[in-house]
């Protein structure tokens, strides 16, 4: 099983300026995929999650185009080929 994670501009310093990272062994959930991302891009997880391990207040994460706050948050299940997008929430209005 593999998934892709889109990385916002402000976090690309952790991914060598790469906009999309492919994770070949993401586990079953968004949370496990972010742990796998941490192996590829050390220190990035702490930018997305707060000290309690929850999604930061001003970050939106989408799994297959749905905001995970409408799904199961970090427990949102993944399937083979799932697309994850991490996007700053501070926009619009």
């Amino acid at each position: 099983m593999a998934v892709t994670i889109r990385i916002p501009t402000i976090l690309r310093t952790y991914t060598g300026d790469t906009a999309e990272v492919s994770i070949s062994d993401p586990g079953e959930t968004l949370g496990s995929a972010l742990e796998a991302l941490e192996v590829t891009a050390p220190c990035i997880r702490a930018r997305i999650l707060d000290d309690d391990g929850s999604l930061r207040r001003f970050v939106n994460v989408y799994v297959d185009d749905e905001d995970v706050r409408f799904l199961d948050g970090l427990a949102t299940p993944l399937k083979d080929g799932s697309s994850i997008a991490v996007i700053p929430a501070v926009a619009g209005g």
């Binding site: 889109r6 916002p8 501009t9 402000i10 976090l11 690309r12 310093t13 906009a19 930018r47 997305i48 707060d50 930061r56 207040r57 001003f58 970050v59 939106n60 989408y62 905001d67 706050r69 409408f70 997008a85 996007i87 700053p88 929430a89 501070v90 926009a91 619009g92 209005g93």
Partner: protein, 432 residues
């Protein structure tokens, strides 16, 4: 011949370096969450924590007299904005200084014992308060060398960006949900920039624009409400400054503000705190109230539930200009409301239509749906006792009813359709 230059000297001397962009009294960008500092630039989210960046200033020395000597537009407040002193002389729509209307008829209808005012921002060049924020963002785009104005919009911003870009000879790329009112899409398209109608809601549009940041195709674009958002948002302060100045340099006791992203509410509050801090107005308590539609009320729900986290919703309301299900400034709007002893409430679409009609027949002001939300919410707050009839109140009407005419077209119409004959006029007007 004597060689005057030192071969060992650096090839670029200080005078060759590009001058720092002139942002007036602004000194930098600061993260509202963690306090991290950044230089002034096209940045909007904190690298450390994703928190929103806000402009910081050195406002010392700004005086009431300095403002009063300025032009009759929002540029009179240039010393309080992230703009160069000359920003108002560059091509722009010259928004601001809209009317503050004393609403005695409406006040009587609502049983008010204190003065009621409508700050009617439909008087701006493209008929909404968005001309204010775009003017400041456009100035920032110039300073940063960005040549195309772009935005994610629920409609009013689309008008403002397309028109401001046209006035200045800049390109524009406006991105909207495809189901917006014709009064907003047709007007935007007429300004003849690029208009992208997205199959999705505003939150989908917003997400798309956020993902475009960093894409090579947008290298010279200033998304006014994404990568220029810190500057753009500051433009909303001018509504607060104007209300204070038009009241004779003081704040009202209550203000009711429509809430979409929540930015406008926080900036009106910020404006009044700034004026107070500078000694331009005397400190006086005021209460800030937020207004939403039931079909998109994430901030009102969080307020009612006592939460400081906003749970996003899927919007479903006729108040499309407020249909932001994931409001970026929602937490800060809650902070301002709670700090001042106000409240956030929501109203039904039927209440919105009724309020649009009440405002029109009592004061001759035809508000868009957001204005209906504001008045209907004030009525609800009065009914629940959360707002007071004894406190001087300002309601913000942020847009023009001609843009959302569908909201009322099904419930109003001619009194009668007659032949051009006097007797038929008499018949219609006869007492029944």
């Amino acid at each position: 011949m004597t060689l005057l230059t030192d071969p060992a000297a650096p090839t670029a001397c200080p005078s060759d370096a590009a001058p720092a962009p002139d942002f007036g009294n602004a000194t930098g960008l600061v993260c509202r969450e963690c306090g991290a500092h950044y230089p002034l630039g096209a940045a909007y989210a904190c690298v450390e924590c994703f928190g929103p960046l806000e402009v910081s200033y050195d406002l010392s020395g700004v005086t009431r007299e300095q403002i009063e000597a300025g032009p009759a537009s929002l540029w009179r407040y240039a010393p309080l904005l992230p703009v160069a002193a000359y920003a108002g002389t560059e091509p722009n729509l010259q928004p601001g200084m809209t009317k503050l209307v004393r609403a005695d008829n409406l006040g009587a209808a609502l049983g008010m014992t204190a003065p009621l005012w409508i700050k009617d921002d439909s008087g701006n060049p493209t008929h909404s308060f968005k001309d204010r924020v775009v003017a400041v963002a456009q100035s920032a785009a110039r300073r940063l060398g960005l040549t195309t104005l772009a935005c994610a919009s629920t409609g009013n911003l689309a008008n403002a960006v397309a028109a401001a870009a046209a006035r200045a000879g800049m390109g524009s790329v406006v991105v909207i949900p495809s189901d917006l009112e014709a009064g907003k899409t047709v007007t935007t398209a007429t300004y003849d920039g690029t208009l992208l109608a997205v199959k999705g809601n505003y939150d989908d549009v917003n997400r798309l624009c956020s993902e475009l940041i960093g894409d090579p195709v947008t290298e010279t674009w200033g998304f006014v409400n994404v990568n220029l958002r810190p500057y753009y948002a500051e433009g909303s302060k001018t509504l607060g400054y104007e209300v204070a100045e038009q009241l004779g340099w003081r704040t009202p006791q209550q203000v009711v503000i429509p809430v979409a992203s929540g930015s406008l509410l926080t900036k009106v509050d910020k404006a009044w705190r700034e004026l107070t801090g500078l000694g331009i107005i005397a400190e006086s308590p005021y209460r800030v109230f937020g207004a939403q539609a039931d079909g998109c009320s994430p901030v009102a729900r969080a307020f009612a539930d006592g939460l400081d986290v906003i749970r996003p919703v899927k919007p479903d309301t006729i108040a499309k200009s407020l249909a932001i299900g994931n409001p970026a400034d929602g937490p800060y709007a809650l902070d301002a409301v709670r700090r001042t002893g106000g409240a956030v409430a929501s109203v039904s679409d039927a209440d919105i239509v009724a309020a649009i009609r009440l405002l029109a027949r009592s004061e001759g002001i035809f508000a868009e749906t957001a204005g209906g939300v504001t008045l209907a919410t004030f009525q609800r707050l009065l009914a629940t006792g959360q707002a007071s009839r004894d406190a001087e109140t300002v309601l913000l009407n942020t847009g023009d009813g001609l843009k959302t005419i569908d909201a009322v077209s099904g419930v109003v119409g001619p009194t009668a359709v007659i032949d051009p004959r006097v007797d038929q006029v008499h018949e219609v007007l006869a007492p029944r």
